[in-house]
Structure formats: structure tokens, C-alpha cells
Amino acid sequence: MAHALTIFIAAILTHNIALTYLLGMCPFISLSRSIKTAFGMSIAVIFVVTLTAAINWPIYHKILVPLESEIIYYIVFIIVIAASVQLVEMIMERFFPPLQAAFGIFLPLITVNCTVLAVSLFMVLRDYSYGMTLVFALGSAVGWMLAIMIVAAINEKLKLIGDIPGGLKGSGIIMIIAGIIALAFMGFGGMVDIN
């Protein structure tokens, strides 16, 4: 239990997937203009990241490893992610239309979010057990949500009061903000161990 909590906190603070590894930057930059879209996207990310990690772990450990074909795990993971997102969307469309309407465009967009693939790859790299994988996936997605929500709120504030030089508007200022927050998050360094 303590181990699970450690991994959860590490995934949010010390090894934040957006601020430490700079992963998932494309939606991070394009969808952090308003808090509402950022929130929708991050809920979708939490859902998909946890789901795909839960599917990928058995596929890797029960199928690829016994068959000694670990080398194709990149392709397998990508296919699994794309397929599962599509499947989930179809199921939602059929049985939970309001939920599907709420997720809207974000669900298909997630197939190209590198956070999802990265979490599955870290799971292999760090040799997590199944339970730890779930905790790590959830923690990473919550950490990503934290980062994008902070930046979205800052962006909304800057829309009101900011006077940003023309060339930095949009992605430029977001990278600067993310950089400063990443510097500050280095303060947590060495607090908890991710393994």
C-alpha cells in the first residue's frame, strides 16, 4: 500500500509526465487555452491512459514475453491504443450518448497523445507489477491533468491582463510558463522514488 502511494505521488510530483518528461506536449499546448477544454481533455486522458495500461500489461507479459517477441511491443501498443479508443467510442456512442457528447472530439484525439504510449512504455521499462501499473498510469494521468489545468488557468488570466509580445503569443508563452513550472517542480527532486 505504501509502495503504491509512493508511486502515485512520484508520478504526480517528482516524475510528472508533462513537466519532467515533457510528454504529451501537443495537446498540452493546443488545448490549454481554456479551462473547460483542458478539463475535458484531461478527464479523457485519465480514462484512456488507465484503460490502455490495463490492457497492455497482460498483452506484454502474457503474450509477448512467452513468445519471445518483445521487440514488436511498440507496434502492438500503438495498435492496442488506437483500437481500444475506437472501441470505447463505439460502445459509448451506443450505450452512453451523453457521456460521448461530453467527451466530444477529445476521445479520438487521444490516440495521438504521446502520454498514453509513454505510460505503457514506462511500465515495461520499470518492470511494474499489474497493480503498480494501474497506480502509475492513474498517477501519471492525474499529474498531466494538474499541469494542463495550471497552464490553462494561467492562460485564461493572461487573456485578461497579459500584454504578451506578438511573437510569443500562443505556444511560445505556454512553453515559457511550462518551463518555469518545471523549474519549480525540480524542488521535489529526490523526494520519492519511482521504482
Binding site: 479551462i35 489545468m149 495550471i150 488557468a153 494561467i154 485564461e156 488570466k157 493572461l158 491582463i161 497579459g162 500584454d163 504578451i164 509580445p165 510569443l168 508563452i173 515559457i176 510558463i177 518551463g179 518555469i180 513550472i181 523549474l183 519549480a184 517542480f185 525540480m186 524542488g187 521535489f188 527532486g189 529526490g190 523526494m191 520519492v192
Partner: protein, 342 residues
């Protein structure tokens, strides 16, 4: 005063200096004051304007600055001078190119920044830090009153991460002027020895230039709160939550978490709580937000001090909470001022 007036009027007439008009305006304002009202954001209640705001903040910083000069001598004056010169350079460049006015805000940043540096910091690092802070912490967001992060802290953060060896191990003992590698906090972390409280209060223990003499800081802080330039909620919540978190932590994990009074009196806590966390631009504007801001800062500080690889956590915690500020305000507004349902 008359010859100076004449000189400034002459300078205004020189064609070549047209570009540097903000600089002349600033000189004019510094010498004679102006009859103009403030144009900068964000102060609307009261007749208080940015200028009085900043003058009060500077007046509150004077005791700490004097103490740093007393303890570290000419070196402290040099560092403050370099900080002002290098920072003003960036400020002037932006003012000239983007054609806005020079705000008084920099006068505070330029004084706070050197006061949180170790007295042995090489002067070029001082310049790099203050330039980074003013450029990326303030000017890219549009200048004074529009920044998200405290510019002095952004500069300090950058040089701490970029030059860790120089910034975290070169401290000067104020009594003997010897270079030591340990501050009271790191001594406690490694050997479990606590410095005497009286030494910490007076400032005879190594530390950053302006943060060692706690009496001067408390004086300045009380002045700030008395004039209502700094809101009392943030420092009280910040220091109080550090005290309570350390009290609880020290009870359960005495080898990791230092005792409460020691935590309050060491490191940059008092300075950060009084002068940096209270920055009205980078802290929440709602009362509930201010309480939350202060308490979170305190808990983060104790966590980073006790468990992370860094000895001091005040700087990190304030910048992290600066980043959270817009989100806190958004959530408070959303829940507190919900539209009435009829």
C-alpha cells in the same frame, strides 16, 4: 535642484534621445515626481497607486537591506548595485522597444533579488539571475502587474538550478567571514544540531544576505502589514502552517523533520512569507484563496525541506503556488459567486 531640472529639460530636447524617452521619464519621475496618475494595473480600491505601493515595499525592505550591509559589508552593496544595474538594463530595453513606461515595480524586484542570494555569489551570476528573472518572469508577460510568477524568485530559481555548486554550498559566516558549506538547516539535516534561536534572530548564522537578520525582517513585515501593502493573511497562514506541520511532523519523524520554532526561524521562511508570498500580483485576490495559498505554501515548504534533495523549500513552494494562483482564483470564483438559481 534647478540645474538638474534644466539638464533634464535639455535632454528631452535632444533628438537622438527620443528613443530613450522612457529612461528620461523615469529619471524625471525619480528626481521630481510627477503629477500624472497611475496607468498600470492592478490597484483600484483606495487612492493608493503603484508608486506608493512600491515605496512602502521598499521602506519595509530597508531594515533587512541595512542588516545585510552591516553583516557582509561592501560585498552586499556591490551585489545590490549589480542587481539594479543589470535588471534596469533589461527593463529599459523592453520599455524602449515596446514603448511602454518604466514601472516602479522593478525597484522592489531589484532589491528583493540580491537579498535572497548567498553573499559569496559571483557578480556575473547576480547579473544573469536578475536578467533572467526580469525577462522571463515579468517582461514576456507584459511587465509590472501582469506577471504570473514573482520575477525575483524566477531569477533565483534559475541560477539555483543552473549553478547548484555555487548557489548552495558557498555560504559566508557573518562573524568570521569564513566560507562554510553549511547553513543551520543543512547542519540540522546532516548532524541534527540546532543553532541557538537568539543567533538566528540576530543574524549571526550563515544564510542568504537579507534573510539572516530575522528581527529586521519581522520589523519590515509588520510595517508592510500595518500599511496594508502586504495582506496579513498570507504570512500568518504560511508561518502558522509551517509551525503546525513541523509540530506534527517532528512528533512522528523527529530525525527527518526539524522542530517547529527552528523551522520558522531558519532559511528564507520569514523573508519569503513576508515579502515574496504577499506580492499582490502573484497571489490570489480572494480571501479564501489567500488562506489556501498560505497554508499550501507552508506544507510544501516543510515537505521539500524534510524529504527532498534540496535543503531549502521556500523558493520552490512559492513559485509552485504562484503557478496555482489563477486556478485557485478560478475555483473560488466558481464556487463562491455562483449565479442565483430562480
Amino acid at each position: 535642484m534647478k540645474p538638474i531640472r534644466l539638464l533634464i529639460d535639455k535632454l528631452y530636447k535632444i533628438r537622438a534621445l527620443n528613443k530613450a524617452k522612457p529612461m528620461l521619464d523615469a529619471m524625471d519621475a525619480a528626481m521630481f515626481g510627477t503629477d500624472e496618475t497611475t496607468r498600470g494595473k492592478p490597484h483600484i480600491v483606495d487612492t493608493i497607486d503603484t508608486k506608493r505601493y512600491m515605496s512602502c515595499a521598499i521602506a519595509a525592505l530597508v531594515p533587512a537591506a541595512l542588516a545585510s550591509v552591516y553583516f557582509y559589508g561592501f560585498r552586499a552593496i556591490m551585489i545590490i548595485a549589480v542587481s539594479y544595474a543589470a535588471g534596469l538594463f533589461v527593463e529599459f530595453m523592453f520599455a524602449v522597444i515596446r514603448k511602454h513606461k518604466i514601472h516602479e515595480g522593478f525597484l522592489v524586484t531589484g532589491l528583493i533579488f540580491p537579498l535572497v542570494l548567498p553573499p559569496t555569489t559571483p557578480l556575473w551570476i547576480v547579473a544573469v539571475g536578475v536578467m533572467f528573472g526580469v525577462f522571463f518572469g515579468k517582461e514576456v508577460f507584459g511587465g509590472t502587474g501582469r506577471n504570473i510568477f514573482n520575477p525575483a524568485l524566477v531569477g533565483r530559481l534559475f541560477i539555483t538550478i543552473a549553478f547548484p555548486a555555487i548557489m548552495t554550498t558557498n555560504w559566508q559566516d557573518p562573524l568570521t567571514d569564513a566560507i562554510t558549506s553549511a547553513t543551520p538547516l543543512s547542519v540540522y539535516n546532516s548532524e541534527g544540531i540546532m543553532a541557538p534561536y537568539l543567533d538566528l534572530l540576530i543574524g549571526t548564522q550563515p544564510g542568504s544576505m537579507g534573510e539572516t537578520c530575522r528581527i529586521a525582517i519581522i520589523l519590515g513585515g509588520i510595517f508592510l502589514m500595518f500599511t496594508r501593502v502586504g495582506n496579513w493573511r498570507i504570512p500568518v497562514c504560511y508561518i502558522g502552517s509551517v509551525f503546525i506541520a513541523a509540530l506534527a511532523g517532528n512528533h512522528f519523524l523527529p530525525e527527518k523533520i526539524a522542530p517547529p520554532l527552528f523551522q520558522v526561524l531558519t532559511g528564507g521562511l520569514l523573508f519569503g512569507a513576508m515579502f515574496m508570498a504577499t506580492d499582490p500580483v502573484t497571489s490570489p485576490f480572494s480571501k479564501a484563496g489567500k488562506y489556501f495559498f498560505g497554508i499550501s505554501c507552508g506544507i510544501l515548504t516543510v515537505l521539500i525541506r524534510s524529504f527532498s534533495a534540496n535543503v531549502e523549500g521556500v523558493m520552490f513552494s512559492i513559485v509552485i503556488m504562484n503557478a496555482f494562483t489563477p486556478l485557485i482564483d478560478y475555483i473560488v470564483l466558481k464556487f463562491k459567486f455562483r449565479p442565483v438559481k430562480i
